[in-house]
Symmetry: C2
Subunit: 735 residues, 2 copies
């Protein structure tokens, strides 16, 4: 919806840079802490006839806002049965926040009034700025930012619905919130307006509590990254959910994500624009040119940002992570009262890399004591439907006894426990009450986390939800999203542990790239770079005479390869500048003449001809570093041949990477079995390969802002022999 | 839950065959029609203390059962405040159905009573049969089937919860059904007991109406296939949902699925056992040995059976297909009031192969008239949140006006229309009422189907659900499952159209395989089979003398290949029985001696040596037919080299297939670009390749029950030249 989704500042980049320092001072975590917790609010331009104003009034009531509420209207003496003042200047004393509902043309005047009244925080609803307002609108937004900086105004919007702070019980928010508002550990930042309603409704229906939720609007002053930073420092927030159309400042986003990982606060992100169609749709709303989504995916994985594909997955995952019951390993015990559920869980666990391990002997023995004779004491456990039909008898405690036994199993990292809640209060509500109390007591004593789940993604009934609340339990919505959430949590934890165990990333590269060529390097110079970086290359001699070529070939040993060496020729094969498999002096001599002539036919700038021994057997890799417009230098590694040409089978990482990470990259390739020695090839020495690749990546990164491309294709691998057979380096200003 | 999930008859196969004919007569669609619509029911062994009995009473009430209910108890004079009779024999007149709650040991006696009382339909709840009752239990189940056949009893179970017939308003069903029970077009068959409750609850919460739902139990008499057949003929059922742990009779299942496709009744199946862990879990409940899941997946695709991964996907898909608004093509128009929703939809559409095409010029013009100035008249369409905030003004009809314009667009096959329903009745319920009435009116006149969706998978509120009901609308649960359902529907429709356009599958293969060898064939004999089937093979001459080998090589042209020819040697290379690239007579002579000696070293049964020209260049395929224990002969096609050895990149089909289907198989391969001419190879003549592969598949199929393996590896392809370079045929009794 345009009021809030069209968050674009189409070409505000230049002005942003100018104002970035001043703008950031308006949106520090300190400023935002008070911005999002106002105890007095003025609604400017509010009238009974405005739908937005009615929604805001309703939302404030739903949130239980107990502060001061003032109404400002230039023409009407009353709003919502209360007297108005004609301008913020007439308030008498400043409010903590002004929510500006005035039309676009009146907004600047209201900001002046706000500043004059000693107000420092404003939300601007009006659209017609960067959001589809054309050049005029963009100019209007630039002026708005300037004015905010000038007047020391922290501003959310424009084109923004406001925010919901459930912890501080204040929700100046221009859409419907289904009551009651549920407070809790999940902070949410949305680059969308209309979805806020859906997010709040789903969260509420699944017992997921919100700390702060903001709809970002155009991000003229407060950006999504600012709110993210605030939430990382906010102690009421344990997990952060993002809906992102664009990442405006990937460097800052990455730094914040690293900090969140460090402090153990998971970020769950629904980043749209995975597909060309999705990029087009997001472009329509943000004006931002999408980077390569594969790079976004790689960056998220490296940063431990959990990427999800749907709103349900976003919220169920965040809810589980916020519940305090978070799996820390892959070994899962399952307790259900349904064999069918066990089947589905087993399949989905396999998808997520979650292991359903065997129960230990004592667990099995204990289960045999409590289970009916016809039930098998096996993981995944089906305690059988007897617990449903036979609650009054000895089986009443069966489910809990089974959970108790399983939770104590030393083989397990966590338990996935099915909970069925009544749709409505039964005639004797003490029965489910006791059952849930037992589960809660068991979980409180459990040595491992217990993730409760329902069979399907369904809303909690009022009775069911209140039962859970009374006993402090959380139930994830359904096997499908529940196991997805479990998989996310496990992988997040693995990244976290891995990052904690590793040294800090190396220092940033030099800020200038003086003295580097502007364009492609000759191969001889590029080989120098490799040598300096400790990247082994196939021996090569640069010659300028046929006799020297023959002599070099004899020294290096036939068969040899001849390649034209010129900074002006990037694609040597295409112009006939390469000769392979030259077995004797005559062949070398003839090839020298041919290759040199081919080079000279296209440029005067020929350094000579490189002579190298021909490598056969082994495996060929592609290793390249390019620069993503968003995330900067990116390393791509793949196997040569069909793997890269037909299957586009590459593994990506944003730099820097270390050797260990490159080993992981190689392992992710579909062609990984080839490196492991499939098809009769000698197994590659993966640590050695990774060491070489990591060195190349680091030397590319250290080229600094001039880096455009550093590529070894192929990198030849034969067991522990690793050699660059060909290298391309391009530096300079990108056009 | 063991009461119903443990549906196994572990080794009943033999008895099943004996009794299959008699058993089937008890479970014909005619018999099942009356079985599932009883107007009088006797509960046998019911007492107030039994949880199952209480559930059945409650379920019957929820379904609105208005027929006669009788109680039978051998000891107690009363049940649920009503008098009992001591035995079915004492009923006076027969009931349409006896629901037997008696314990296992008493069941046989009850069956005798039932027959004596003129009753022909029984449900048996008791477990302890094939379900984990050991050998004794299996024997008990065999006796149960015998008795049923003898007494002409149609029997559901044992170890079964019963069924819910919403259309006939009768639900003899032993678990809780959250009221109200919703009748509708979806028939459901579950090889699970406990999941029935979850399925009913989710369906109800999403406005998905059920015709008949059965929990199958052990399938001693009535099988899942019988109920499937009944539902295909049942005119109240428009779509069929299955939860399957095992497919007991794949041939019959396939035939039924074909019939369902023919009559246009989609089957949506959650078949578990996709993973080894899932197979293990299902095995625990069914005792059935799982076939290769890849074959199940292939068979489902061929049969148009929609395979889903979760209960939510099962029901949302079935609900959409049952709604009557079913997409018939890939071109989608999207109407929302959220730019964020547009983004998510665009990404998910790309996943599903759904195309968001441009609106036609007249549509765009019409949208410009109705949309606010800041909204873009573009697909996916965001009519903007103005419709939420400004309902009283001219924008009140904006959403419907936009839907109207989009639905009329000739570029589109269907519309995906976002509907937001209130969580509770607003102060003026006529506002949403009018809005939904407008949507309904537009859809009624729409030339293309309109699939309504909500943003997330959430329960319908009571108010929202009743709104939809009053106006005959269906809303699919969320973007995520909604677009999955859309993708399923489109693909289902494509399979349906494809099947309708193609000739009927060829006749079944011969029933006997007399005269075929018992084991591997010699290559010479296998080549005969190819020749007879019209499958081209590389020229080859069988020689037994070195001179003859040399002469053959001269005729065929060097370089040649020599291969030992013996039925006793399946893997020729392994024993040194192959010599490649022989360029001159001396090499041929030496190789002949070597190859022959290698063969004679392992067997006396050597026919000679095959001499063939050596093929180079081009592409090599793997083509193999093997026999799946469930679905029978299966064709696998893949590219050679890393594609099959490292990537296991094969496409599968259950036979028979025609040329067109093989073209599709080749297109599914990840290596397909190689066949299309990637990497400088001549593009393969795909119709020609497919013709050859289809002939091979058909000749394999026609070997009948003796078929074990027919494999061409490699099948050499160079443009339109296609030749089998090596062939392996194995027939005989499988051990």
């Amino acid at each position: 919806m345009t009021q809030t989704d069209h968050v674009a500042v189409l070409d505000g980049g230049h002005d942003r840079e100018q104002h970035e320092g001043a703008r950031r001072l308006l949106a520090t975590p300190d400023r935002l802490r008070s911005f999002f917790a106002p105890r007095s609010i003025a609604l400017v331009g509010a009238s009974d006839g405005s739908g937005w104003a009615r929604f805001i009034m309703e939302s404030l009531a739903t949130a239980g806002f107990a502060g001061t509420l003032r109404f400002v209207h230039h023409a009407r003496p009353e709003a919502f049965g209360r007297p108005t003042v004609p301008s913020l200047r007439a308030l008498g004393e400043p409010v903590d926040l002004a929510f500006v509902l005035a039309p676009t043309h009146a907004v600047e005047g209201v900001l002046d009034d706000a500043a004059a009244a000693g107000i420092h925080n404003v939300v601007v609803l009006a659209s017609g700025y960067g959001d589809g307002g054309g050049e005029e609108g963009r100019e209007r937004e630039r002026r708005l930012v300037e004015r905010a900086v000038e007047l020391d105004l922290t501003l959310l919007g424009p084109n923004c619905l406001g925010f919901v702070n459930a912890v501080a019980a204040v929700a100046p928010f221009g859409l419907h919130i289904v009551p009651p508002l549920r407070r809790g550990p999940v902070g949410v930042v949305l680059q969308s307006g209309a979805l806020t309603s859906n997010v709040l409704a789903f969260a509420r229906a699944h017992g997921i509590g919100i700390s702060l939720l903001t709809s970002m609007g155009n991000e003229a002053v407060i950006t999504a990254a600012d709110v993210l930073e605030h939430l990382i420092t906010d102690e009421d927030t344990r997990v952060i959910g993002l809906f992102l159309e664009t990442i405006r400042d990937p460097q800052r986003f990455s730094a914040l994500a690293r900090r969140a990982l460090q402090v153990g606060k998971p970020i769950v992100a629904l980043k749209v624009g995975r597909s060309p169609a999705g990029q087009l749709a997001a472009l329509a709303h943000t004006g931002a040119v999408a980077g390569d989504d594969a790079v976004v995916a790689a960056a998220f994985r490296q940063l431990g940002v959990i990427r999800v594909g749907s709103l349900e997955e976003l919220l169920v995952t965040a809810g589980m992570l916020g519940s305090g019951q978070v799996p820390r390993g892959r070994r899962m015990g399952v307790v259900t009262a349904s064999g069918g559920a066990c089947d589905i869980i087993a399949d989905r666990s396999a998808d997520e890399g979650v292991e359903i391990v065997e129960f230990s002997e004592p667990t099995t023995a204990r289960l045999r004591e409590v289970l009916p004779s016809f039930a098998a004491a096996r993981n995944p456990l089906d305690v059988t439907g007897i617990i449903l039909a036979d609650r009054t008898s000895a089986n009443a405690n069966l489910g809990d006894a089974a959970l108790n036994a399983v939770a104590a199993d030393p083989n397990l990292d966590f338990v996935f426990n099915m909970v069925s809640l009544p749709a409505a209060a039964p005639p004797d509500p003490s029965v489910p009450e006791r059952r849930i109390a037992d589960v809660a007591a068991t979980i409180a004593c459990s040595p491992v986390p217990v993730v409760n789940f329902s069979a399907t993604c369904s809303d909690l009934s009022e009775f069911g939800g209140s039962l859970l609340d009374r006993h402090g339990l959380h139930v994830v919505g359904g096997i499908e999203f529940g196991l997805t959430a479990v998989g996310h949590a496990i992988r997040w934890n693995e990244v976290r542990q891995d990052r904690a165990a590793r040294p800090a990333p190396p220092s940033p590269p030099r800020a200038t790239s003086d003295g580097l060529p502007n364009g492609a390097w000759s191969e001889a110079r590029a080989r120098e770079l490799l040598r300096a970086a400790g990247v082994p290359a196939v021996p090569a001699e640069l010659v300028t005479e046929a006799d020297a070529a023959v002599a070099a070939a004899e020294r290096l040993g036939c068969p040899v390869v001849l390649k034209i060496c010129s900074a002006a020729i990037a694609h040597k094969s295409d112009i006939g500048g390469v000769a392979l498999g030259l077995g004797d002096p005559d062949a070398v001599r003839a090839a020298f003449v041919r290759v040199l002539a081919a080079g000279r036919a296209v440029t005067d700038d020929v350094e000579g001809v490189l002579v190298s021994p021909m490598r056969t057997g082994g495996t060929e890799l592609f290793v390249g570093v390019t620069v993503d417009p968003s995330f900067g230098p990116v390393l791509a590694v793949g196997l040569g041949g069909v793997f890269i040409e037909v299957l586009h089978d590459v593994s990506l990482r944003v730099l820097p990477v270390d050797q260990e990470e490159v080993v992981r990259m190689l392992g992710e390739l579909r062609g990984a079995p080839v490196l492991a020695g499939a098809r009769g090839v000698a197994p590659a020495d993966l640590p050695r390969v990774a060491e070489v690749v990591a060195r190349l990546a680091e030397c590319a990164r250290l080229l600094g802002p001039a880096l455009q491309t550093v590529e070894i294709n192929p990198l030849w691998v034969d067991g522990s022999r690793v050699e660059a057979l060909d290298v391309l380096v391009v530096t300079g200003c990108s056009s």
